[in-house]
């Protein structure tokens, strides 16, 4: 059925921040023919053919279509003679939020509050990761809005910070994508730094007990 064809076509759907939906396929198993993409969003009156194909080795390999809101996308993929696949899904199921911008940092004693502008849709998790030069791994803190406070920091140390946005599985399902990480920023003594010198430390860890 459709499921098998979906596998053969290596279908992938990405909803970029409810702005553009990208549907891609691999037509190599269909002797390199030009597959046709027809679609209809639930707010559209009629179906339309893709007006913005993605090409690979001069054959259609995907379609970029404008998304306006959280709705259901129905589409079909055909070759010259046969209907290969039809599919209808909420485009939210394949959401990739845009990454956080204009991160703002506010120090208060040994805590820092990281804020940025919330995206215009709900049930997201804003993840802030941070580490000092002495930490080998990032530490994570999440919030349902982009206002996340992390405490227990040492103002004297230099810290790396980065942020991204994830979706709540109970609201979007398991097939979404986390946003790309924001740029890494560096903070020490409450001020922005150009960098934290990476120290190749031989970790002197002494387990005391």
């Amino acid at each position: 059925g459709d499921w098998a064809l979906e596998g053969a076509l290596q279908l992938q759907i990405i909803n970029f921040n409810f702005e553009v939906v990208q549907v891609t396929w691999n037509a190599s198993k269909f002797s390199g023919t030009n597959l046709t993409f027809l679609y209809k969003l639930s707010s559209d009156k009629t179906s339309s053919q893709c007006s913005n194909y993605i090409f690979q080795q001069s054959h259609t390999a995907g379609c970029l279509l404008e998304a306006k809101k959280d709705e259901i996308l129905c589409f079909s993929i055909k070759n010259e003679t046969h209907l290969l696949l039809t599919k209808c899904q909420w485009i939210s199921a394949y959401l990739k939020p845009s990454s956080p911008k204009d991160l703002n940092f506010q120090w208060h004693q040994e805590a820092i509050t990281v804020t940025c502008s919330d995206l215009p849709y709900k049930r997201l998790l804003y993840e802030i990761q941070y580490k000092s030069m002495f930490d080998t791994e990032w530490q994570s803190k999440e919030g349902e809005t982009c206002n996340v406070t992390t405490d227990g920091l040492d103002a004297e140390k230099c810290y790396f910070f980065r942020a991204r946005v994830k979706t709540m599985e109970s609201s979007y399902g398991p097939d979404t994508y986390p946003s790309d990480w924001s740029e890494v920023t560096h903070q020490q003594r409450g001020e922005l730094r150009d960098s934290c010198q990476e120290r190749k430390l031989f970790p002197k860890f002494i387990l005391i007990s």
Partner: protein
């Protein structure tokens, strides 16, 4: 009159002893099984022949009867619906003595954290404290607030407290006494606005000694 019941099984009105009781729930404490534990607030209550029963907000049944172990009454079950209120009844010979309405998701007592460790990081001039919690693998009460408490062993009541939602914390060397013996422990409380409740028991205590010399940290 004397509380008790007559020979022929008729029940004299039990003297109005204080049968107030308290309960707490532990969800997914044994796989998918939940545990509800209740006990009389007054330890001197004569609980012989007294039974506990829960009704309402249950799956497939109207009521469940508690088991009893010494002075504790408990139910281990998967049948809590976790939506809506239940009624807990205290019964003597089938007759209701007292009842109380409660909501299983609002009386959650998490399991105590464990495996607390302290690692001294010489280069960073700090102590990395880590601990573990069984709740990170659970489906329901996943979000906890933890409270770490530490003190110098010789200072009886001088506990320092730090609240955190992660299971990793750093204590700055410059804030501790050099060459001193410290003890540290941690407990947890539900931190989501759906599941609420009480502090867990404290974790076992971990002891550590701070180094003698407090060197300056290289920038």
């Amino acid at each position: 009159g004397e509380s008790g019941y007559a020979q022929n099984g008729e029940f004299e009105d039990a003297e109005l002893d204080d049968y107030s009781f308290s309960c707490y729930s532990q969800l997914e404490v044994d796989g998918t099984q939940h545990l509800l534990t209740c006990a009389f607030d007054d330890p001197d209550v004569n609980s012989t022949n007294l039974e506990f029963e829960i009704c309402g907000a249950l799956l497939n049944v109207k009521c469940l009867t508690f088991d009893k172990l010494q002075e504790m009454y408990f139910i281990k079950t998967k049948k809590f619906l976790l939506i809506g209120d239940s009624e807990i009844h205290v019964k003597l010979g089938g007759k209701n003595i007292t009842s109380k309405k409660l909501n299983i998701v609002e009386i959650v007592k998490p399991e105590a954290p464990f495996d607390i460790r302290v690692i001294y990081r010489k280069g960073a001039n700090d102590f990395l404290v880590t601990f573990n919690t069984s709740h990170s693998q659970k489906k329901y009460v996943k979000e906890l607030m933890h409270e770490v408490a530490y003190r110098q062993e010789k200072n009886e009541n001088d506990w320092m407290h730090v609240n955190l939602s992660s299971t990793k914390l750093t204590l700055l060397q410059r804030k501790l006494q050099p060459d001193a013996m410290y003890e540290i422990k941690v407990r947890s409380i539900p931190n989501a606005n759906y599941f609420q409740g009480f502090w867990s028991e404290w974790s076992p205590t971990f002891h550590f000694r701070t180094p003698e010399i407090t060197g300056r940290m290289d920038p």
